[in-house]
């Protein structure tokens, strides 16, 4: 009897598997080992960032500086519908299938051989969600037979990779309270719980407390949660675990209860240190004069032990942030050769304009160098990693112009959209350089003449973002992390808003709002190739190998935060058209070797 039961179970599993397949492409299971080894395996992309460290470096070299000129499109897939706006997604690739997310919380599975759709999932978004900063999604995660992604109504969904059917759906936050979700989830191994799926959170200015949640990927059940703001309790296995920091240590009064620190860009993981690294957003309220103290851990990087959700170390890039230098930028683990030693380092290019190198085992500060020009808010960073603030450049307290008149304006660099915003940089194991997509802009800040908030008279601040130079805002830079030296720079008229990819073939790829996917020489910055996709690019390129050929793909569709904010920058981007598609490229047979 027992044996018969088992046989039946196997048979029904098989039946399900077969029923779900509707194409020659057969999706196979992804193991946690596949994810950890993602960077080394060129045949698939099963993590956001081409490996858990997020280096966005591919060991493939079939495509190189010589044959890149022969790179041509294979197919283009339209997301369709009336919904366009910003497409910031990085696709995943497994066994001939591409999994790609789009604006308005949509996802597609596409047969790479033909460019045909296998399935589409369209999240039904409730009325009453008010995402602050466009309706983007940055990508999915994959494990076993499921793909996972977060939706704008602050939920995480697990879909059957073969059919696109919902397996489970869990709430990350309450969208009615202002929570949202746009980042790619992160899958990490643990001894205690097996693989876990980690998500950050995002939302508006107020009432949001940053948090990292870890869930069981099979069921969606919460395993642990870790708030980023001191004074809040974490949980582990359904019970309270420990408090983050010490209540009121760096926040006066009760503002820590609504403090900010959203982990809206997700995180990375380093298999060596077995730590997950998350960046945290700016504190609330925006007006720093109302919240004396460092306000930990806002505008910081934190390292979390995935076994229990404890914070192992934290590093605050902008303590007492008053400029909206939302420190969420990705922290990329890499081994740094310096003075004959190998240092277990990690690097992050902060919205505040400095490129930080830290010891990734303990968060100790190694170096910080500017990666954009003419920074005004700080004159530098001291030997402990603390900024040397420029007090005259801190935005004033609107209360000090109680007459309700427009106060004096100050000009701060970088602007509030950051020297580098969400768009991920890449680290080349070939050149040991980081390739940073940055923007050279500043902001005018003044105390706003009278405004109203929820029906009541209020004093706020006005901001407007301004280019620093006439001829360009965007700037892709190659930076040597051991010295901070900028090796080369590519200047772009419009602000750069897309991620970077670098390869063992000596190429650096990035897209521009003007619609070009471009490839550069990793050593000289020379532009080797470009292709016009017909709409702006604000996403991260990928490359993989299939049937002996190297492919490149990019999601296109202009949008994101830049067109929402405008200012003088709007003039540079106002003519750009929206869109929504994936483009796939390869070198046609016979041309690869030339």
């Amino acid at each position: 009897m027992k044996r018969k039961h088992t046989m039946l179970a196997v048979a029904s599993t098989l039946a399900l598997g077969v029923a779900g397949v509707c194409s020659t492409a057969v999706a196979a299971d992804v193991s946690i080992e596949d994810i950890m080894n993602d960077q080394a395996s060129g045949g698939d992309i099963v993590s956001y960032g081409l490996g858990p460290r997020g280096q966005r470096y591919s060991p493939l070299s079939t495509l190189n500086k010589e044959n890149i000129k022969n790179l041509y499109p294979v197919w283009s897939f339209s997301f369709g519908g009336e919904k366009q706006r910003g497409q910031e997604s990085q696709p995943l690739i497994k066994d001939g299938v591409m999994y790609v997310t789009g604006s308005y919380s949509r996802m597609w599975a596409i047969d790479i051989a033909t460019g045909e759709e296998l399935w589409q999932y369209d999240a039904r978004l409730p009325e009453g969600i008010l995402p602050c900063c466009d309706v983007v999604n940055r990508g999915a995660a994959i494990l076993g037979d499921k793909v996972f992604f977060g939706t704008l109504d602050a939920k995480i969904v697990a879909l059957d990779a073969k059919t696109g059917k919902v397996i489970w759906r869990k709430r990350i936050g309450d969208y009615e309270a202002g929570y949202s979700y746009t980042a790619a989830p992160l899958i990490v191994p643990t001894e205690a719980h097996g693989p876990l799926i980690l998500t950050g959170n995002s939302g508006g200015e107020f009432g949001i407390v940053g948090q990292v949640d870890a869930r069981n990927p099979d069921t969606g059940e919460l395993v642990w949660s870790r708030p980023t703001i001191e004074g809040h309790m974490g949980t582990l296995n359904g019970e309270e675990s420990t408090m983050t920091g010490k209540k009121n240590e760096t926040w006066a009064g009760d503002l820590w209860q609504n403090g900010g620190g959203a982990t809206w860009l997700g995180g990375t993981y380093d298999p060596d240190t077995q730590l997950a690294y998350f960046g945290t957003g700016n504190p609330a309220p925006w007006n720093s004069h109302l919240r004396p103290g460092d306000n930990k851990w806002t505008s910081a990087r934190i390292a979390i032990d995935p076994e229990n959700g404890e914070i192992v170390w934290g590093f605050q890039s902008t303590p007492h942030d008053g400029w909206d230098y939302d420190g969420v930028n990705e922290f990329i683990s890499f081994d740094m050769e310096k003075d004959g030693e190998t240092i277990k380092a990690g690097a992050t290019a902060d919205r505040n304009g400095f490129f930080y190198v830290l010891d990734r085992t303990n968060g100790e500060f190694i170096s910080a160098t500017p990666f954009v020009r003419d920074i005004t808010w700080a004159s530098g960073v001291d030997e402990n990693g603390r900024p040397l603030f420029n007090p005259e450049n801190r935005p004033g307290n609107p209360a000090e112009s109680a007459d309700g008149k427009k106060g004096e304006s100050i000009f701060a660099v970088p602007g509030f959209l950051g020297a580098k915003n969400w768009m991920p940089m890449a680290y080349s194991q070939k050149t040991s350089n980081f390739y940073i997509p940055s923007n050279e802009w500043g902001m005018d800040i003044w105390n706003e003449p009278i405004t109203y908030k929820k029906g009541a008279a209020y004093l706020g601040a006005g901001f407007t973002i301004k280019p620093l130079f006439d001829d360009y805002i965007g700037s892709l830079k190659a930076v040597d992390p051991s010295t901070g030296e900028i090796k080369w720079e590519y200047k772009n008229k419009a602000p750069l808003w897309g991620g970077v990819l670098t390869t063992a073939g000596g190429l650096v790829f990035t897209g521009t709002p003007e619609g070009y996917l471009k490839a550069f020489d990793d050593e000289t910055g020379e532009e080797l190739w470009k292709f016009q996709t017909g709409t702006g690019i604000v996403s991260s390129p990928i490359t993989w190998e299939q049937d002996g050929e190297q492919y490149v793909a990019i999601v296109t569709g202009w949008g994101g935060a830049v067109p929402l904010w405008g200012g003088e920058v709007a003039k540079v981007v106002s003519y750009l058209n929206q869109g929504g598609s994936v483009w796939v490229f390869k070198v046609p047979e016979g041309l690869a070797s030339r």
Binding site: I129, T451, Y458
Partner: protein
């Protein structure tokens, strides 16, 4: 008492809400499309803030409630149309609210309302937001405190709150005032509620003896908690942005005629005493808009 609403054209001012109804809702006097559109569609979409008792909120069944909601229903009755309420939270400032709720819509569904309730009537805001029209002030807003007399027998100045806690809804005008007051001396005393209801609970549970907000909100709290011996006080507020301001409605720039028609409804409610009676049902004293 006659209460006049500025911004109304002479012709339209003659046209009371009642005569509008009598004219069979297709008066040739109304040339512009928006009122006709609203009437043709049989539905008026009214925006009001969520979590904003006694003006507007949603009860447990999702039904819109409050003073502004009742006024919105009156708009519908006068035009002979159904009313749909669009209830959303406040964005960072009024300019954002006008964009999202009156002229552009939200990012996801692109939805906006025909009329927005509870819009401060301010010339500068009106000029700065050229795609919205602020009109028809119908009420005077003020800032105030409610204090529990058993806990705080006298509150003559805010000095009382250097050592006594005071509740307020986070990131509101009251919070802004308290956070800045006396060079931060009250910072340790502020107990912030994430919503107004949370701040109200801090007061009604007697965890704190005072709450700050709009006067009508304070009167509502007193009305809802008759067991507490409460007093509404307005001590000097040095550095407050404004102690009082008029509240009106807003419509999209191409819907001015709708604004005029709804302004007539407000005038009629004020002149007939219905407005005063409506506010009184929520324990609030109606004050006419003070346009200096």
């Amino acid at each position: 008492m006659s209460y006049r609403i500025p911004g109304l054209s002479q012709t339209l001012r003659c046209l009371s809400a009642l005569s509008l109804l009598a004219a069979g809702l297709s008066s040739p006097a109304l040339q512009a499309r928006p009122v006709d559109d609203v009437v043709d569609s049989g539905k008026l979409v009214v925006f009001a803030y969520s979590d904003y008792a006694p003006y507007s909120w949603q009860d447990e069944s999702g039904e819109a409630q409050g003073i502004d909601v009742e006024i919105g229903r009156r708009f519908g009755e006068s035009l002979g149309v159904e009313v749909e309420f669009l209830i959303r939270g406040a964005d960072e400032n009024l300019d954002d609210d006008l964009r999202v709720n009156i002229w552009k819509g939200d990012l996801v569904h692109g939805k906006y309302a025909d009329v927005m309730m509870h819009v401060p009537y301010d010339r500068e805001v009106d000029i700065r937001n050229e795609l919205a029209v602020l009109t028809s002030p119908y009420f005077q807003e003020q800032m105030a405190l409610i204090v529990n007399r058993d806990m705080l027998p006298t509150v003559e100045t805010f000095g009382r709150f250097v050592s006594n806690p005071i509740a307020v809804e986070v990131d509101t005008a009251g919070d802004f005032f308290l956070s800045n007051a006396f060079r931060g001396q009250l910072l340790q005393s502020i107990r912030r509620g994430r919503t107004f209801a949370d701040a109200q609970r801090l007061y009604t549970s007697t965890e704190v003896g005072a709450l700050m907000g709009a006067r009508a909100q304070m009167e509502w709290v007193a009305h809802e908690s008759p067991d507490i011996d409460s007093d509404i006080v307005q001590p000097p507020m040095p550095g407050i942005v404004r102690t009082g301001w008029p509240i009106g409605i807003a419509v999209k720039h191409d819907s001015r005629d709708l604004g005029y028609a709804l302004g007539d409804v407000l005038t009629e409610m004020i002149d007939s005493g219905d407005m005063k009676e409506l506010y009184a049902r929520y324990g609030v004293e109606w004050l006419p808009a003070d346009l200096q």
